[in-house]
């Protein structure tokens, strides 16, 4: 540990500039301490004090020209590493009709961020886990993160809304910093835990800290930890929250909550995003732009036809059960770092620590299931690959199957997985793989919105963009050796078709396969020709029903669950289900009555998957992201949440 004179602080700026770094730091802008480009020590908020309370933040100039009068403002490293709006790629329609996609990747110059607190370094670690630590790594986030040198400060005077001692993320900086400063009246004690930090330190005129100064830091940190303005008990909280999804408190807090999204915007760990597909008026040039979103917006839970989280209590519950609940199962840490921003910047002052204390009363569940482990990260720049429609099959009046050739070919085309299919300027939608291999994909698409309307109107030769495939496939290896019951509703047959083809091709492993398929009407039955062919396959038993028909229809009439009985569900069977969620719910119950256990029942979930890589947060479902941990789940993994309204 070294000691730096207060008067020498400008030398730190010089040292950072000497390395070619642009410096960001705390400075007073519009009545708050913001993170902004600064030139020297004179721009720092010396002598400023913040008074923070629920829904309240005021700055005033205090006495001493020190930096211990304020804590965090609305900004965090999130603004630096994960900008609120950025273009991901550009697309153009070339003269030959093909699509060209070019990634937009940042080229961040070297930077330094000053005055970062322990809570925000913990938050940066947590955001990194979300954006770089899963099966996919976001290269833009990584580039910005790696370009920044972090000059952190130890908090000696926590604020009224601080509770980092409770979340074990402060007040002492223990991670993520290149230099750590602790302010004393006469100057700063400086530690340099990294090589980059030591290089900067070497440029400064410092002296070794005395033993009593080192001890003083320890004392100051102990004292700070004891002086937190708030506290929270996170122990066992995930189980408790998921055990009380019906807690009356959700409704009570929703009476105050404005669902405005301020809490998530200022939260240094919230990473949910959405995207837009702007284009030129002629549509020939387009791009994809990512922007911060919030689980408090209606659109965050939008699946075709509407939002499934209409009520404010659904949204608050979604946020809190994720932030301090399922987050632990997903990332091994709570998503709350005790910075207090969501309390200060909530326009009506909802206090998360109060809500947590109220919600802790009651029974919890035994344990939250853990998401599956993933192989370590590979880069994913979210840019589609150019592809061409080779064939279009009309399945019904609102469903078509596109055969798509991807120029470069694809790896890992397996039934149950999905691709993101895009039309520049119009949008991108997750579509399950209904057949094909690495060279040719089959996607069965129902026209339910603008993007799917446009996809369904394509002709052979038309260009599309393809990303993927993503997600977990049907576990055919685990299903082999037993009778299999496949239950499909409507377009739910599409993700199952490839699995059925594979099972038909492997009769030794799948000696008895029952397909129970329900469609709205005879005209809505998908793959009619292929189904007829399957009736001739000895290992395949087809049970088909429609919701209603004309009397000329000779098949079954009624919902698909009525097809499930001892004839279609043999003893010892496993099951695969895909269809509307409510149909799956009743199907699972019926199968359980017929002796198929949850762990041998596999379902595929539909959620609003926008990035397909776990970055955008929109398909978060308890401890899972449907895009990477699903969409195929064994039912015992999701039973505790399945059918829960607003989830």
């Amino acid at each position: 540990m070294q000691f730096l004179e207060r008067a020498a602080l400008d030398a730190l700026f010089d040292a950072l500039r000497a390395e070619g770094r642009a410096v960001l730091g705390p400075t007073v802008v519009d009545g708050a301490i913001r993170l902004a480009p600064i030139d020297g020590a004179q721009d720092l908020p010396a002598g400023w004090t913040d008074a923070q309370g629920p829904g309240h933040y005021r700055l005033r100039r205090g006495g001493d020209a020190t930096f211990d009068g304020y804590v965090v403002g609305p900004d965090s490293l999130k603004q630096v590493f994960f900008p609120s709006k950025e273009t991901l790629y550009r697309a153009e329609r070339r003269a030959d009709g093909k699509l060209g996609f070019s990634p937009v990747l940042p080229d961040p110059g070297a930077s330094a961020v000053l005055g970062v607190r322990a809570c925000d370094l913990a938050a940066a670690r947590i955001q990194r886990a979300a954006l770089e630590g899963g099966p996919y790594a976001e290269p833009r986030h990584r580039a910005r993160r790696e370009a920044a040198l972090i000059v952190a400060v130890n908090c000696t005077r926590p604020g009224a809304l601080c509770f980092c001692a409770s979340t074990e993320t402060g007040p002492r900086v223990t991670e993520g910093a290149d230099l750590v400063l602790t302010e004393r009246p006469d100057g700063f004690l400086v530690e340099a835990p990294t090589q980059a930090g030591r290089a900067v330190l070497a440029r400064l005129d410092t002296r070794p800290a005395a033993a009593d100064e080192v001890a003083w830091v320890d004392d100051a940190m102990r004292e700070a930890a004891a002086n937190m303005g708030r506290e929270v008990d996170l122990d066992g909280l995930p189980e408790q929250l998921f055990g009380r999804l019906d807690h009356a408190r959700w409704k009570i807090v929703a009476e105050r909550c404005l669902a405005c999204g301020n809490c998530t915007s200022v939260c240094p760990t919230c990473f949910c995003s959405t995207s837009e597909h702007p284009s030129s008026i002629d549509g020939d040039e387009a791009s994809r732009v990512r922007l911060w979103d919030s689980c408090f917006t209606e659109e965050h839970a939008y699946i075709h036809g509407g939002g499934f989280r209409p009520r404010t209590e659904d949204r608050y519950r979604q946020w809190l059960t994720h932030k301090v609940g399922a987050w632990v199962a997903q990332f091994g840490t709570s998503g709350c770092v005790g910075c207090g921003r969501c309390i200060a910047w909530c326009p009506v002052g909802i206090d998360l620590t109060e809500e947590i204390a109220a919600l802790r009363q009651g029974e919890g569940i035994a344990a939250l299931p853990a998401p599956p482990a993933h192989a370590c990260a590979t880069d994913e720049d979210l840019v589609p690959r150019a592809a061409t429609v080779t064939r279009v099959e009309r399945e019904s009046d609102d469903v078509v199957t596109l055969h798509v050739a991807v120029d470069e070919g694809l790896q890992g085309v397996l039934p149950g997985r999905f691709c993101q299919v895009s039309l520049p300027g119009i949008g991108e939608v997750p579509i399950s793989i209904s057949g094909g291999d690495g060279a040719l994909l089959e996607h069965t698409i129902r026209a339910v919105g603008r993007a799917t309307d446009a996809l369904c109107a394509l002709s052979p030769g038309d260009a599309v963009g393809i990303r993927g495939p993503y997600g977990r496939a049907w576990p055919l290896e685990a299903l082999a050796g037993r009778p299999v019951v496949v239950v499909a509703g409507g377009i739910g047959l599409a993700p199952l078709r490839g699995a059925l083809r594979s099972m038909i091709a492997r009769p030794d492993e799948f000696p008895e396969v029952h397909l129970c398929y329900g469609a709205r009407s005879p005209a809505d039955v998908l793959y009619a020709k292929e189904l007829l062919g399957w009736m001739e396959v000895p290992t395949m038993h087809l049970h088909l029903t429609v919701d209603h028909a004309s009397p000329a229809w000779l098949g079954h009439v009624g919902v698909v669950t009525r097809l499930l009985d001892a004839r279609s569900v043999p003893a010892g069977a496993s099951a695969m289900i895909c269809g509307p969620e409510i149909m799956m719910r009743f199907t699972v119950e019926r199968l359980a009555q017929l002796g198929v256990p949850d762990e041998r029942t596999w379902v595929t979930m539909e959620r609003n998957m926008q990035c397909a890589t776990g970055f955008c947060g929109r398909c978060q479902y308890g401890p899972y992201f449907v895009c990477k941990d699903g969409p195929v789940f064994s039912f015992d993994q999701i039973r505790f949440l399945f059918g829960e309204e607003g989830y």
Binding site: D30, L258, A259, E298
Partner: protein
Amino acid sequence: MSARPRLGIFKMASCDGCQLQLVGCEDELLAVAGALDIAFFAVATSKKDDGGRYDLALVEGSVSNEEQLAHLLDIRARSDFLVTIGACATSGGIQALRNWRDVDEMIRVVYATPSYIDTLATSTPIADHVPVDFELRGCPIDKGQLVELITAFLVGRRPAIRDESVCMECKRAGATCVLVAKGDPCLGPITHAGCGAICPRFGRGCYGCFGPKERAAASALAAHLASGGVPAEALVRKLRGFTAWAPAFRDASDALDEG
């Protein structure tokens, strides 16, 4: 050229400010004019309404008299995709303040010759009278949103017009919250985005000219502001601005009014 979609821009009771936003789209106006057949646009061209069909109709203004209502029904019958533009068309506008008053008395007080005035008792949004395919909010509407709407219509996508709070835009823009940091009563948390948080970015509270966002908890915000010392009359005035007659603002202001 006849394959270009026909655009008609119509007005009811309004100030023409929203239509003028299109004229103000200097960079994009030529592209719009190239992609669409601007068949009727009274403030910018001399063409008369030829009585034909419109692929896209933009309707400005509220329904304030019988003549406007008849005109609106005619436009709706001849339009495939009808978009209301601006606070008047989407919520009744500032002139809907008269909906809380006795219109006859106001006519007597305001006009020298009250008998010349033929008006309905209320100023109401277009959607109260005919089905509306999309709403573009604001007083006036935002140029960027107008171009996005037209582009989305032409390209065939859902317009990237987000029914979220002004706060979402305010935070993305990096503005400091005027409500929390200055105590300025701001309607941002309950107001539909689209303006780019222009008022908060210039240090003043949002006055809700884009109207309520979905699930606008106007009463909850009012209760909070009241607890901070904002008088009920001030809150009523705040909610009864350019989009006073929008149900979420109307109901909350009525509840405050009744005490």
